[in-house]
């Protein structure tokens, strides 16, 4: 779990160009980390690549925070 969390946060830092301290579990990609809707599409693609999961569009729409991403991957990842 913590491994997943670290890897998710690393991807968020790289893709959104934000400081690591800002990427808390509760942080919202759009409201807190300055992402726009296109950035969130790109983030989901990066999670899929990193964890070898497929995140369908309806599930991706519900991934709004760092915690949401970690939870989805922990439940569905390999």
């Amino acid at each position: 779990m913590s491994d997943v969390a670290d890897r998710v946060k690393k991807i968020v830092v790289e893709h959104l160009g934000v400081e690591a301290e800002k990427v808390t579990d509760e942080a919202s990609f759009i409201d807190d980390l300055g992402a726009d809707s296109l950035d969130t599409v790109e983030l989901v693609m990066a999670f899929e690549d990193e964890f070898g999961v497929e995140i369908p569009d309806d599930a991706a729409e519900k991934i709004l925070t760092v915690k949401d991403a970690i939870a989805f991957i922990a439940a569905n990842g390999k």
């Binding site: 160009g17 950035d39 693609m45």
Partner: protein, 415 residues
Amino acid sequence: MRRVVVTGLGLVTPLGGSVEQTWERLIAGQSGAGPITRFDASDYACRIACEVKPADFDPNLRVDHKIQRQVDPFIVYGIDAAGQALEDAGLTDMSEEERLRAGTMIGSGIGGLPGIAEESIVLFERGPRRVSPHFVHGRLINLVSGQVSIKYGLMGPNHAVVTACSTGAHAIGDAARLIALDDADVMVAGGTEATICPIGIAGFAQARALSTGFNDEPTRASRPWDKARDGFVMGEGAGIVVLEEYEHAKKRGAKIYGEVVGYGLTGDAYHVTAPHPEGSGAFRSMQMALKRAGLNPADIDYVNAHGTSTPMGDELELGAVKRLFGDAIGQVSMSSTKSAIGHLLGGAGAVESIFTLLAMRDQIVPPTLNLDDPVDGAEGVDLVPWKAKERKVDAVLNNSFGFGGTNATVVFKKA
């Protein structure tokens, strides 16, 4: 019509990451050519180019990290050069009222070719769901104008030019018209290109446009008007100017590089890649620009030629200039700076216009490198071989011609 002057310059070129670095090296007779480093070109007919050097250009100075990741390099070069020009003009902090009257007109010949090629491979190998959501707006030509407009809050005309290798000159001419006609007071205008990539080199080589005989001596390859020339050397980079209505510039005490006094634009109506065999389109373009400027050929001190180092183009342009100038040909200096920086395609006309403005500022004209054995017909024409030349420079003319038979000429003089 209102008068239009140039008050800011920005350059990213194979000779430097700024205006002064580029100009200093250009005047010193340095070449930006070398072996292609961007990809393994060992199987290509042309293995040389004029690349922007990482040691000279730091994209982090003016372009957000996130944007760098999303867009093609031509957009990064364009944003940086536009930032340089606005900083030089002292216009990075305009009021909202001023910004409503400030716009962008930055073009490119081809746009995001490297990114289109790479993402096509992603699509074929990994499927449509792996294509980047930033693919489209990271490759579009008008997204240089768009990004600059957003970054600096410019809310006037947001436009872009696409006329192959005459893009940069057309952008300056068209943007000046918008100011002259009172549609804007300030325009950020120019061109940018970055196509030194496998499909770019292969495509131009297949069109038989690139030099292939100097792969072992890259700095000797771009040799306009020299008998041994065998094609152009691809360059990359951006040239952007800030154009401003004359009274607007005077009122705020802006530094003025020169006035845009003439603009000509014509079509060859002949062939997609070959110039008209009599150079008639080029001739009429220069004639139109001089007429608009109210100048005679004898008033022009320096011509920055299109002069790409291709077998046909150079001689036809020389012929057209000689016919237009008549007896005045003896007083003008004409050089091709593509001999040093290569051919920046959509960026060329703007970068070279900036060189003509700097020639006026410093009263020195940049050289034509590698001109050892000039073509027949060059007798009596000062093509400035090898060494920059100090001389009077009060009015200048820049030519740019592009695939599709498109021609543009811009004339500047001291304001």
